[in-house]
């Protein structure tokens, strides 16, 4: 497969160069080549006017190229200073000089206005601060060109503002920044130059002045895109889900969901907004019976379900779009048809006694594939060979195909192309109109804002505010997500 095909990209000093494209457009592949993680099959890379041959990230670092990955490469039990000097330790005859390390880190963070305490442990830091540490780590290694891969995915709106300030400061110092993103709004705000990629090719290079968001979206997707979900006002009915004072612990046995209460009614989409890591996954797990609850009540249609197994909950009308598709949503090695009946495989018509009925499974699969527009060659191909968008449509199809009364949708469009996002959003809205109750949990604030009828803001495991989506103030929600009262 060609992830990058005849790509030309010119990045200048003192510029923020945004690399805009959908998931799978080849942005990360390109940057992994620049960072020495992948080798190109043909073509050349010039740095400072000279052709360079990058065999590993070590070569890239030596040249002054730094990269902050989407998933941070930090060691949580170590301190900020230890993480930053890792691999380039200040040592005296093999003994690490921690005072000197801390001192160096302090100097660096003052110079670029990246405030962070070098003695703090990474595990104690917020995600935004961890990202600062990653940036400092790159600068400590002498980065002059800094690559930021989807840096805003895990930040609150306020933290994003802070990141933009840092990026501007770096550029003012004479450095170059490549800013990889799929979010249009950010590009217009932070970039000096924008290069749009689609299907491994550069579609064009422009500036925020020349191109407005709608133009960029069209370049990115290849057609006109609806930037908002069209939906009629909700007509909420009886209460379906009622959660009272729920307490759930995470894997480290810390309180992740803290006295949380919410309710979802028939025919409405209740959106949970919040920065990732504020208890979203634990909440979803607890509602589905995948994690035991410490205290509180979970009722569906007035019936307590806390003691039911996941199987019983699914049979009782709950549907789940898991927040992490590859981990929980699909079995990549199994076929599309098998995945479409993953939670419904062991009784008629899909099985008689213990024997699976492949004709029935196939017929059902073909029906869902058509209804949900899953693009594939054959229902027998493994799910791993589908694109991310089609995999996600498969998960949505499986859940909506069983006609649930309550859908718990965790990050329903993560890592999905714009076309599939539109499709999935439309499906969820049309099921809502038919009376489905939806609990949407997403860390994409735009998704929550455009899809929800009511919005609950999640902060440190609590719903800190419930607002009507109609006329909800983006900035206010951002502040609530960051813990302001």
């Amino acid at each position: 497969m060609r992830a990058n095909d005849g790509v030309d990209l010119d990045v200048s000093w003192r510029q923020v160069h945004a690399l805009l494209g959908e998931n799978g457009a080849g942005k990360s592949t390109l940057m992994n080549i620049v960072y020495g993680l992948l080798r190109p099959d043909s073509g050349e890379i010039l740095f400072d006017g000279k052709p360079v041959d990058l065999h590993s990230p070590l070569d890239a670092i030596r040249l002054g190229i730094g990269m902050v990955h989407q998933h941070f490469m930090l060691i949580p039990p170590l301190t900020v200073a230890e993480n930053i000097v890792l691999g380039h330790e200040v040592a005296n005859r093999g003994v690490m000089d921690l005072t000197e390390s801390s001192h160096k880190v302090e100097q660096l963070s003052e110079r670029f206005g990246l405030q962070v305490d070098p003695r703090e442990r990474i595990a104690e830091l917020s995600v935004g601060l961890q990202q600062r540490v990653e940036i400092l780590k790159a600068l400590y290694r002498g980065a002059r060109l800094l690559i930021l891969d989807e840096p805003t995915a895990v930040l609150t709106p306020q933290e994003i503002e802070g990141l933009f300030t840092i990026v501007r400061a770096l550029v003012a110092e004479g450095k170059a920044v490549i800013f990889i993103t799929h979010k249009l709004a950010e590009v217009s705000e932070v970039a000096d130059v924008i290069t749009v990629m689609r299907r491994g090719r550069v579609v064009g290079t422009t500036t925020p002045k020349e191109s407005k968001s709608a133009d960029l979206a069209r370049m990115m997707v290849g057609r006109t895109v609806l930037l908002r979900v069209e939906k009629s006002p909700a007509k909420p009915g009886a209460q379906v889900l009622k959660v009272d004072n729920l307490v759930v612990l995470d894997d480290r046995r810390h309180v992740a969901v803290d006295n949380l209460s919410l309710d979802v009614r028939v025919g409405e989409i209740f959106g949970v907004a919040g920065v990732e890591g504020n208890g979203q996954n634990e909440l979803i797990d607890a509602l589905m019976g995948l994690r035991s609850i410490r205290a509180g009540k979970v009722q569906v249609d007035g019936r307590e379900i806390s003691n039911l197994s996941t199987h019983a909950r699914l049979k009782g009308g709950l549907g789940l779009i898991p927040p992490d598709r590859h981990r929980m949503g699909v079995v990549l090695e199994l076929s599309v048809a098998d995945n479409l009946v993953l939670d419904d495989f062991d009784h008629p018509p899909f099985a008689r006694w213990l024997v699976r009925q492949f004709n029935a499974i196939r017929d059902y699969a073909v029906k869902l594939i058509k209804t949900f527009d899953i693009r594939l060659q054959s229902p027998d191909q493994p799910v791993g060979s589908l694109s991310g968008g089609n995999q996600q449509k498969l998960v949505v199809a499986r859940q909506l195909g069983t006609l649930p009364k309550l859908l718990i949708a965790g990050q329903p469009t993560r890592g999905v192309d714009v076309g599939s996002i539109e499709f999935i959003h439309r499906q969820i809205v049309s099921e809502r109109d038919r009376g489905l109750a939806v609990l949407l949990v997403s860390s994409e604030l735009d998704e929550v804002l455009s899809l929800s009828d009511r919005i609950g803001v999640l902060y440190r495991g609590r719903i800190v505010a419930v607002l009507d989506a109609e006329g909800a103030d983006r900035d206010r929600i951002g502040l609530l997500m960051a813990g302001a009262s």
């Binding site: 099959d41 995948l290 898991p322 929980m328 079995v331 199994l334 098998d338 993953l342 062991d346 699976r356």
Partner: protein
């Protein structure tokens, strides 16, 4: 088409090339020992296939390898590494032989199934212990099955060596009483030791295949093997599936044990298995956990096992050589990258052509 070719590479080519490479490494060892590999290998072949009764004897050794290979393979399919097949073989032999020498005077059609069921049940229960420990406490099955192996060896020698338990009267070496005549598996070829157990092992292959590929149990097992989190989120009970898989695996290993007793040994000493259960891990690996693949893999191991002593007799090359061959085969199977690399080297010219063609095509698209 591409999927078909990839299947051919991973399911047929990699094991086949691995076997050839394994023999090549063995040849180096033979040369190093100052013998002629060609002569050694032809003696091995003769001892395994062409000598009088050799083929029948090879099939006798193949029988436990088939059942044990299936046992390990079914575990692999659920993501479980059952190293305890040897121990389950022992426990299956013990429980089976107890029934087989205790019952008297019933027809074979009754006695054989009774003994088989007892053997399989013993193996299944024994393996379930490891399964339950994993499901309930997260104890890794590699550790628990290894430990349970030692327990089973000691349980076996205690029961077999202790008067009043399973020790037969008036025997010079400790062993159980002989099984009842009705429980003996009928001979297939007069004058050889080949017994009905071989047919039973052959029948087990399609049954296990059907179980894995066509039943809901197999579906559950594979889903859990590939992705436990997704299986759990889809409402499957991962713990129950693990226990069930271990039980099935143990039942097959127990079947191997009792078939060996009913067909070959007719009583049990405390060294009956002789490492079959450990070789079976190699069989399952070579078969890539495919039930059909277990057949040729088991045949290879049966042939090596059976031909080795004749090779030693004829050429003075130690029978331990087959351990070198087996081990290198497994190294090559476990590192398919080596085989892939060997093949890329040979296919290099074609690949270049393909690239050129694509680059010519590029501007027109």
């Amino acid at each position: 088409m591409a999927g078909w070719r990839r299947w051919l590479l991973s399911a047929v080519l990699v094991p086949l090339v691995s076997v050839i490479c394994g023999f090549a490494v063995g040849a180096i060892a033979i040369v190093a020992a100052g013998a002629d590999p060609l002569m050694a290998y032809s003696a091995l072949f003769a001892g395994a296939f062409t000598n009088h009764n050799a083929l029948a004897e090879t099939l006798v050794s193949t029988t436990p390898y088939v059942l044990l290979g299936l046992a390990v393979a079914i575990g692999f399919r659920a993501g479980l590494f059952n190293i305890g097949a040897e121990g389950q073989f022992y426990i299956g032999s013990l429980s089976g032989v107890f029934v087989a020498y205790s019952i008297r005077g019933l027809p074979g059609i009754v006695e054989v199934p009774l003994a088989m069921i007892a053997g399989m049940l013993g193996g299944a229960l024994w393996a379930s212990i490891a399964g339950a420990l994993k499901a309930r406490f997260g104890a890794h099955e590699v550790i628990t099955t290894i430990m349970l192996n030692y327990v089973s060896f000691l349980v076996a020698s205690y029961l077999v060596d202790t008067p009043g338990l399973m020790l037969a009267r008036n025997v010079s070496t400790p062993r159980t009483p002989d099984i009842d005549a009705g429980a003996v598996l009928p001979n297939l070829i007069p004058g050889s030791r080949l017994h009905l157990g071989f047919v039973l092992a052959l029948l087990a292959v399609p049954i296990v295949w059907f179980l894995i590929e066509r039943t809901t149990i197999g579906f559950r097992l594979r889903a859990v093997g590939f992705n436990q989190n997704a299986a759990r989120a889809a409402g499957m009970s991962v713990g129950r599936t693990i226990v069930l898989t271990m039980a099935l695996s143990g039942a097959l290993a127990g079947a191997a044990g009792i078939v060996q007793i009913l067909g070959v040994n007719f009583h049990m000493t405390d060294t009956v298995a002789a490492g079959y259960g450990f070789d079976a891990i190699a069989v399952a690996l070579l078969a890539r956990s495919n039930p059909w693949g277990v057949l040729p893999a088991a045949l290879l191991f049966g042939a090596l096992h059976n031909g080795a002593s004749f090779m030693q007799l004829e050429t003075q090359v130690s029978a331990d050589l087959i351990s070198i061959v087996q081990a290198s085969v497994i190294i090559f199977v476990a590192a398919p990258a080596i085989v892939g690399w060997l093949f890329r080297l040979r296919r290099a010219p074609t690949e270049t052509v393909a690239i050129t063609q694509r680059e010519v095509d590029a501007p027109t698209t």
